[in-house]
Assembly symmetry: C2
Homo-oligomer: 333 residues x 2
């Protein structure tokens, strides 16, 4: 294992220190418990938005803290859920009197710990609502998930909820919009290589020299099947078919399309993926109204990509276009 | 070799198609010769800015085309210079009557082909000025370079020149500012793994399981020396020492600091690098006034990073903060 780290034990905190040093205008970091908080939190009378999960998926979630998106992120250890204390501390840090929304990817540990934190916060009289993200069409259940896993739509859910909160919408509305992003979103991922968890020191799984894993999870969980390598046009067609069949998306739909790198896939390949996706969706009569191409929800140094499609309506489009000012997503500011 | 491509021969054009499809609001792509051009070019009475070089370094250069930065980029084949015809076509596309600036990384092929294009353009009566970027402190000459290689400062030079052009400054001034970014900028890179050129199908070089290459070039050219792996704090100290000693940078300087990923290094590691750089420069009394952390000038799927420091003055700071609206760098729009 070769990584730009000091020790596996220090990596998460070192990276948080770097995030804060680089973006002190947007966010600040507290340690023990570790939380990333928008620099001007709590914003009075605005719904506070908290997300989090295991580290190793950067820029998710700390890179999306800032005006127009998350008020706080709770980074757990690599691929490990944050603890309730962390989530409760984040809740206190962002509560401006209008309630707090938890955006939780559907993994058992995350779900449990956000639930405990919500109960603790509610016992203190705080208003907390949780939206689960479960957009991964690859598989239904897995070792660490009941139901579908939460992946790429998380970013869209965080952006739209963040914009709604910034507009001053009440908690129920912010939660409704967040849930809608999840309901209208579908994702599928593939891996060419495994990432390496620093504390483990070796790849999580092995893939042959001519193999890919179709339906990979962001922690290296198995997907639907192993397949031989194929041209990106064929691969994207298989991925898009899996997505379109699921919602289903159909002719005339307008979507946000996200091509996401898993951490070790260079941009030239991600744009080759996007080119194929664009061709495929055009042929299917589906209009890409907005798009993101880049490393957004990663799996350490895994090579591979995921595609997320979110069906858009006018309200979602307006909220997507609203200003956002975070380390990883920025426009209108 | 496992890559998300159709064929090695098609990769550059496929990725360009993806870039255009994703960012049609900012740029358009022409083929044969391949050029990426700002969507509203030529901008009348504005200095046109053209850069380019081999592909495989994305987002450089196509990802920096847009308002406030490049008017056009000329992408050659992977790690191969663009041809004079391409550069001349870009020149015609961006000439708004105020002259054209070429920003050229110092590699023999690029230098030669931009020179030929400049002569052809000048023979047509166009005003063209060239600024060479040669900021890599690793080594003085190499197989494909006379003098120092051009790397990370290119991005700063493109941004500052782009802002100056947008302000309506004349060609000589835009070129002066561009040259100043290069004169005040120094870079050093390291590799943990080699990238794989698609047409070659195997890594350009081999590194042992516990080795890194200090002073790597962005085409996998050898650096200063092979070293055993070390904690990122020690590695960043060595890199920073090499940079500080060279300009030299000294106590009281204000700098722009860039931590760049080589393509396959995840963001969590890049922020760990930034944290160490921040600590090191603070201890040296050097103030980081602006920074970039991310994949900016890559080497296909190489794992590793580079650090660029550019000494700033007030004018450079103002130009850096001016709005920029490109796929890879965006603020104020």
């Amino acid at each position: 294992m070769k990584k730009l780290i000091n020790t596996p034990e220090r990596l998460v905190q070192d990276a948080l220190a770097g995030l804060e040093a680089a973006h002190a205008d947007l966010l600040c970091v507290s340690y023990d418990p570790d939380i990333v908080v928008r620099v001007d939190a709590p914003v009075q009378k605005k719904v506070g938005i908290v997300s989090g999960g295991g580290s190793g998926h950067e820029p998710l979630h700390g890179g999306f803290v800032g005006r127009g998106m998350l008020d706080a992120a709770c980074p757990g250890p690599i691929f490990t859920s944050p603890v309730p204390d962390q989530i409760l501390a984040a809740t206190h840090a962002v509560d401006g009197g209008a309630g707090v929304l938890y955006i939780v990817k559907n993994y058992s540990g995350d779900v449990m710990n956000f639930e405990i934190a919500a109960e603790l916060a509610q016992a203190e009289g705080l208003e907390v609502t949780t939206v689960l993200i479960n957009d991964d069409v690859a598989i239904k259940d897995s070792l660490n998930t009941a139901g579908r896993r939460g992946v790429g739509s998380t970013i869209v859910a965080e952006k739209l909820a963040g914009a709604a909160a910034e507009e001053g919408q009440p908690l129920a509305e912010v939660a409704r919009i967040c849930a809608q992003a999840n309901a209208m979103g579908r994702s599928i991922g593939i891996a060419l290589t495994s990432g390496t968890v620093p504390a483990l020191g070796r790849p999580t799984f092995e893939l042959g020299d001519d193999e890919l894993e179709f339906g990979i999870g962001i922690h290296g969980e198995p997907g639907r099947q192993r397949m031989p390598m194929m041209p990106v046009s064929e691969l994207v067609a298989l991925m898009a078919e899996a997505l379109l069949a699921d919602l289903p998306f159909s002719h005339g739909d307008r979507v946000l399309a996200m091509v996401n790198g898993m951490g070790a896939t260079p941009q030239i390949e991600l744009y080759a993926v996007y080119a194929e996706l664009d061709r495929y969706l055009k042929a299917a009569g589906i209009q890409i109204d907005r798009r993101l191409v880049g490393n957004l929800i990663t799996s350490l140094d895994m090579a591979g990509c995921s595609i997320t499609l979110v069906r858009l309506d006018d309200e979602m489009l307006r909220l997507w276009d609203a200003p956002v000012c975070t380390p990883a997503l920025r426009w209108g500011c």
